[in-house]
């Protein structure tokens, strides 16, 4: 089977970016929106075609093959070289579907949402750049290639968060996202260097090979009590945690909501933020086998803590996009913990499958939630819950699609989120009780904050609007309806037949008792939300007063931003950078300036010699020659 056409999937958006970017002033908005959407549509169709061939014809003896097309790009030595190419295996094909579907839908949606914006064509150019980078990241064959595209998605995320560059808060948010993820990527880079230095390769296939250097030889090196490879993997995970907004690098994600809402849907909900999960999944065999999964345990606990932490904060936020941002962080924590508790072979690898399954369904329903939130924001021009209420009468399509997505994320039986969440909980239950309990709590909290949002927007108080809110145009409704359908039927795909840690299909069944507990908790959350938020009451205020301090802490996101500010401003800037700056200014610079000043004052004194009178010059010349002649005369005689 020939898959070489897969290279066209990322190259189409690249061509779009160049076309729209170079000619952004020349192409009228009416055309650029269509050009962008059609290009992504082509990528979408190609991805579906690839998936069809790969999943139905890609098995050899019941095992999915890894297919690689690559070209050596930089050769350091015979063994160590950086390649560029495409890698096709079950998870990369699944990610192709996710990225191209969401990207296509967001392109269609943006045609309506961004209508009339000054930078309309520029916006589509950035979206195409992002799609190219993300698809390239998914298809990367080695650590270095994934790093290159990793930085490219970071850069396009920066451009899109700061899209409204005249708004100071957007500029600050873009800067924050860039700096925080860059800091995490520093760890990633060091991790890559450590791993490649000790294993002599960048290739994923080599690193993941159960007979390869990394997995067989991890015990031969050690550093501070752990294998060097474990350190490398922890550092690589640090990069993943930065992109995926895991603790403690999550602070950029809520602020990133300053970008246009389609961007939040595409980048900060469905695709870029799951790159960290994808990275761990990509290196899963290495994570699992090196040091008996020490690094993987870290992934599990970071994921579990982040998901609980984010769910608590999400309960208290009043900006609907921020609630969704924390919800994203919480769900990504789910994926991370599922990977973390997973084992390798057959049914033991349930967590791996569950994580990828949840990634897939989450992309659909969270993308939809953001698009629906964007539709609401588009209609009433506010992000805050206090300005909303009773919108179900004005925006029926948005209302229904939001409800479907909220039911899906809450894990109500029959919707996609139910199936994937159940697999995650089953995997956690089998391998780690503590993480299982925290995940069940998170499941309840998820339903609670999601329906707080739902009732707050669409029911609740009957807000009087200055302009009657209008339902969004078809360009926005269609992607929402499409994703709503996927948010239901996505759950009925038998993921375990297509995706597993060892590329061998296995049978995964619903665990009915666990499913009952999880959906029971979810429904309980919905009922509590119904009681508290269906009608405007003073219960919520009373409850938040009861919790007092805890509520205040959660409302301020547990003061993480303040801690970061304290560490960077007071400690790093104040105690380290300021003295160094003083030294630089008063010693290093002063020396140089002193040398300059001395030269200047000296030349000031002797500049009179340059009188401009040629007779003076001639006098100097002649007296000089006379003196020289006299000296020579004296020496020779």
């Amino acid at each position: 089977m020939d898959y070489s056409y897969v290279i066209a999937i990322p190259l189409i958006p690249l061509a779009l970016f160049l076309l729209l970017g170079v000619l952004s002033k020349k192409i009228p908005p009416s055309i650029s929106g269509w050009v962008g959407s059609l290009g992504l549509g082509a990528s979408f169709v190609l991805s579906l075609y690839t998936a069809y061939h790969y999943y139905f014809e890609g098995k050899v003896n019941g095992v999915y093959q890894t297919i690689i097309y690559k070209q050596t790009w930089l050769a350091f030595s015979d063994k160590l070289h950086i390649d560029m190419g495409v890698l096709i295996d079950p998870i990369s094909v699944m990610m192709l579907i996710v990225v191209s579907t969401i990207s296509f839908m967001v392109h269609l949606y943006s045609r309506g949402y961004m209508k009339g914006d000054d930078g309309y064509t520029r916006f589509f150019a950035y979206l195409a750049l992002f799609s190219f980078s993300m698809l390239g990241l998914v298809l990367a064959t080695n650590l270095f290639q994934i790093y290159i595209f990793w930085e490219l998605v970071g850069a396009s995320s920066f451009l899109l968060i700061g899209y409204y560059y005249t708004k100071p808060s957007a500029v600050a948010a873009a800067k924050k996202a860039f700096i925080v993820t860059r800091f995490a990527d520093l760890g990633f880079l060091i991790g890559i260097l450590v791993i490649s230095y000790y294993s002599g390769t960048f290739d994923f296939t080599e690193l993941n090979n159960p007979e390869g250097v990394m997995i067989t030889n991890w015990a031969s090196t050690s550093f501070m009590g752990l294998s060097v490879f474990t350190w490398g993997l922890i550092l690589v995970f640090m990069g993943g945690a930065g992109k995926s907004a895991m603790l403690p690098f999550h602070i950029w994600l809520p602020d990133a909501m300053e970008g246009p809402t389609p961007v939040s849907a595409l980048i900060h909900a469905a695709t870029m933020v799951v790159a960290g999960v994808y990275l761990v999944a990509r290196l899963f065999p290495a994570f699992h086998f090196v040091e008996e999964g020490f690094a993987l345990n870290i992934v599990a606990y970071v994921g579990a803590i982040s998901s609980l932490f984010a769910a608590i904060i999400a309960l208290t936020q009043n900006d609907i996009k921020r609630v969704l941002a924390f919800s994203t962080m919480s769900q990504i924590g789910y994926m991370m913990l599922a990977l973390g508790v997973s084992k390798y072979d057959g049914h033991e690898g349930l967590g791996f499958m569950a994580s990828m399954f949840h990634l897939f369904t989450h992309a659909m329903f969270k993308g939809l939630l953001f698009l629906a939130a964007g539709s609401v924001i588009h209609a009433i021009h506010s992000n805050y819950l206090k300005d909303m209420g009773g919108l179900r009468k004005y925006m029926p399509v948005t209302h229904i699609t939001f409800l479907i997505a909220a039911l899906s994320i809450s894990g109500v039986p029959g919707f996609a989120g139910f199936f994937s969440k159940d697999e995650i909980l089953a995997a956690a239950y089998e391998h780690n009780m503590l993480i299982y309990i925290s995940s069940v709590v998170v499941a309840g909290l998820t339903a609670l904050y999601m329906f707080r949002l739902y009732f707050g927007i669409f029911w609740g108080k009957d807000t009087q609007y200055q302009h009657t809110p209008q339902e969004s145009p078809w360009s926005m409704k269609f992607p929402m309806i499409f994703l709503a359908i996927l948010s239901v039927v996505g759950g009925y795909i038998h993921f375990s037949e297509y995706i597993s840690a060892d590329h061998m299909p296995f049978e995964a069944h619903l665990n009915y008792s666990l499913a009952a507990i999880a959906s029971g908790v979810g429904i309980l959350g919905i009922i509590i939300a119904f009681i508290l938020y269906k009608k405007e009451t003073n219960f919520p205020d009373k409850i938040s007063n009861t919790f007092g301090l805890t509520y205040k802490w959660a409302y301020h996101k547990f003061y993480f931003d303040e801690i970061y500010l304290f560490v960077t401003k007071k400690i790093i800037f104040g105690l380290v950078a300021a003295p160094i700056a003083w030294f630089d200014k008063h010693v290093v610079d002063a020396t140089m300036i002193g040398i300059g000043n001395v030269t200047l004052s000296f030349s000031e004194k002797i500049k009179g010699l340059q009188s401009g009178k040629f007779q003076d010059y001639a006098m100097a010349f002649i007296s000089g020659s006379v003196i020289l002649a006299m000296i020579l005369f004296y020496l020779w005689l």
């Binding site: 009188s611 401009g612 009178k613 040629f614 007779q615 001639a618």
Partner: protein, 105 residues
């Protein structure tokens, strides 16, 4: 070879001429006068060539021919210098040395 006059007197004369030229070159205020001083210096050199040829090597003619070269050279140089001075005059309406001091520090 001139009767009753030795080479020393003539060399003294050319030395005096040379130093008058040097003195004039340094002290004159007018560019034309400076040019004339340069002529004096060149003439002193030309006299030296002729006299040394005549007194020391009467059988040869190189010194005399060389002095003709010097005269030709001096004429060319004077033409050039006069052209420069005329242009300078057009520019600053003066041929004084002190008005040419614009190229300092």
């Amino acid at each position: 070879m001139i009767e009753g006059i030795s080479i020393y007197e003539i060399l003294s004369l050319s030395s005096i001429l040379f130093f008058i030229g040097i003195y004039g070159f340094f002290t004159r205020e007018n560019l034309i006068m400076v040019l004339m001083s340069i002529e004096l210096i060149l003439n002193a050199a030309a006299i030296n060539f002729v006299i040394i040829n005549t007194y020391l090597y009467p059988d040869f003619l190189q010194g005399a021919i060389f002095s003709i070269f010097i005269i030709a050279l001096a004429a060319a140089e004077t033409a050039l210098a006069i052209a420069i001075i005329i242009n300078l005059y057009k520019l600053v309406s003066s041929v004084e040395v002190k008005d040419t001091e614009i190229m300092k520090y």
